[in-house]
């Protein structure tokens, strides 16, 4: 059987690995528009000159050869014909498949701000190719603007600061990392970034981008009337699942390819996994989806159950943070918020009636993994007679006598 995977990131590689472990005789072809396999979570390390392209790979250099996988790099798929089971590429190749897995991920989105889409020096920050363009632009530049202070924007800002640029981050919300953190935890990062030279313009909206005769952005105009000069712009304003090439194929999609819990699409022998589903942008979830899709392509019956995606870690300048669940409950949500703080740590637990809704651990995040289990499985902790911060896995300890694996005793 010939299985073709489009995309070579978390979901695609995880699927390829699973296929080869389960059945080494399956023919596996990976098609990717990139010419490297790399982890986009490490792009800032490339841009900041901490690692080279090989250093941000998440598989060994000989991964495809060693696993007998055919890798078609620099190849963009432009169409799928599920009736004939054929893919068409931009260079007019036709590739047949018995089963197809689509893991094309997502692409950055540039908001329709006048001048921003037209600017030759406004970049997204998603692929290694983006990082290379930015690296090039940074060589003769002094002033960089980052639009968006989410994790990608902060990653980009970090890398540009490492390169010695003047970095201004513009964000519509009134804090950085607003989706992950509360104002206190976010403020800590803002302070450290400012210490490293970054400027933040919060609660500010980009109105337009001024272009010179060569279509290069020279400044950004904000709704408040401020004008910020720049040599180039990184736009970190979110991503959209990328599946344009499926048009006319009959494969159902709605803000992401539609799949069941088994990662099957509406079309026989076509599966999808990862960010292209539009249900989570979280690395571990994409890996898991890829593994499930691969298992089912080989006739297994794996189900995507662990859907929890409100989870993030951040690590900048030695300050680590874990954030899970709802850390900024709305006023009308009836809940209890407990905080603990010292010079190096900020911790917050949001709970309601014995159920943990969200946590932030900033500073020491050691041994905090069990909180995710408590939150996503809605485990009632009200019967445990100890301060909530003293909870650990030991309070739910269980062990399988045969395998020696842990489980939760509730």
């Amino acid at each position: 059987m010939k299985i073709v995977i489009i995309g070579a990131s978390a979901a695609g590689i995880s699927a390829a690995k699973t296929l080869k472990v389960m059945d080494p005789n399956t023919e596996v072809v990976i098609i990717s528009k990139d010419d490297t396999i790399h982890s986009r979570c490490m792009l800032h390390k490339y841009l900041g000159h901490e690692r080279d392209a090989q250093g941000i790979s998440f598989v060994p250099q000989d991964f495809c050869e060693a696993n007998n996988i055919t890798w078609m790099k620099n190849t963009r798929v432009i169409g799928v014909d599920p009736q004939k089971k054929i893919l068409k590429t931009r260079h007019h190749q036709e590739i047949t498949y018995d089963k197809l897995l689509i893991t094309t991920g997502a692409a950055y989105f540039i908001p329709p701000v006048p001048g921003m889409r037209e600017a030759h020096n406004a970049f997204g920050f998603r692929d290694l190719s983006d990082a290379k363009l930015i690296d090039n632009a940074s060589k003769n530049s002094k002033n960089a603007i980052v639009v968006g202070a989410g994790l990608v924007g902060m990653d980009a800002a970090f890398a540009l600061l490492e390169l010695g640029l003047n970095v201004t981050v513009i964000e519509m919300a009134d804090t950085v990392l607003g989706l992950q953190l509360d104002p206190k935890a976010a403020g800590e990062y803002q302070k450290i970034f400012e210490g490293a030279g970054a400027k933040f313009l919060l609660s500010e909206k980009v109105d337009s981008v001024e272009l010179d005769n060569h279509q290069n952005a020279t400044s950004v105009h904000l709704a408040s009337g401020k004008i910020v000069p720049c040599d180039f712009i990184i736009v970190a304003a979110g991503v959209r699942p990328s599946y344009d090439f499926l048009e006319g194929s009959g494969i159902a999609a709605n803000r992401g390819i539609t799949v069941g819990d088994d990662m099957r699409t509406n079309i026989d022998d076509v599966y999808a996994a990862g960010d292209v589903l539009g249900i989570s942008g979280i690395w571990p979830n994409a890996m898991n989806q890829g593994k499930i899709a691969a298992t089912n392509m080989l006739g297994g019956s794996a189900v995507y159950k662990d859907r929890y995606a409100l989870k993030n870690t951040a690590s900048f300048y030695g300050l680590n943070t874990l954030s899970l669940g709802n850390v900024n409950p709305a006023d009308e949500v009836n809940c209890e918020i407990i905080k603990r703080e010292d010079k190096n740590n900020y911790q917050k637990i949001v709970s309601n009636d014995g159920l943990i809704l969200g946590v932030i651990f900033q500073g020491d995040i050691g041994n905090t993994g069990f909180w995710q289990y408590l939150i996503k499985n809605k485990i009632d902790v009200s019967d445990i007679d100890k301060p909530i911060f003293d909870l650990s896995y030991a309070d739910f300890y269980g062990i399988d006598q045969d395998s020696g694996e842990y489980c939760y005793t509730l």
Binding site: A10, S14, V21, S39, C41, M42, K45, I56, S57, F58, V59, P60, W283, P284, M287, N288, K291, K311, N312, T313, S315, G318, N320, L322, L324, D364, I365, G366, N367, T368, G369, F370, W371, Q372, Y373, D385, K386, S392, Y393, A394, D395, Y397, I399, D402, S403, G404, E405, Y406, Y408
Partner: protein, 149 residues
Amino acid sequence: MKRIMIDREKCDGCLNCNVACMSAHQEGSNFYTVNLQAPESETRNFIKFDAKTGYTPVFCRHCDSPECVMSCMSGALEKDPITGHVKYDEEQCAGCFMCVMNCPYGVLKPDNKTRTKIIRCDFCEDKADGPSCVAACPKEAIMVREVSL
């Protein structure tokens, strides 16, 4: 694969396993000479105490389906197909700590000294006698057993 089996009832919280683990990862030291106060001196296993339930050893399981490996975006964590143990490549690790976030049992932690790497059980793979914690346990509350992978 070999796994450290745990008999919670036998543990009396002496923490010899902690000391043995620190020593095993401090080159040139032994159980008696290990510098417990060195900033890089850290245990990879934990004993939790509770007045009602007593002592609970929390040790890495090198799980059959390791969530830490599943969460690793740098390729630093791999489950070895032969030994079944989770291997950690410190050089490759990018310090994102998604493995800390994803371990359902809260076993993993960033290192105290640099907070850029993780502290995790390596099953004392370099030691002929197997895990140092097991050798140091006077109660046989932890022991190595072959389990099917």
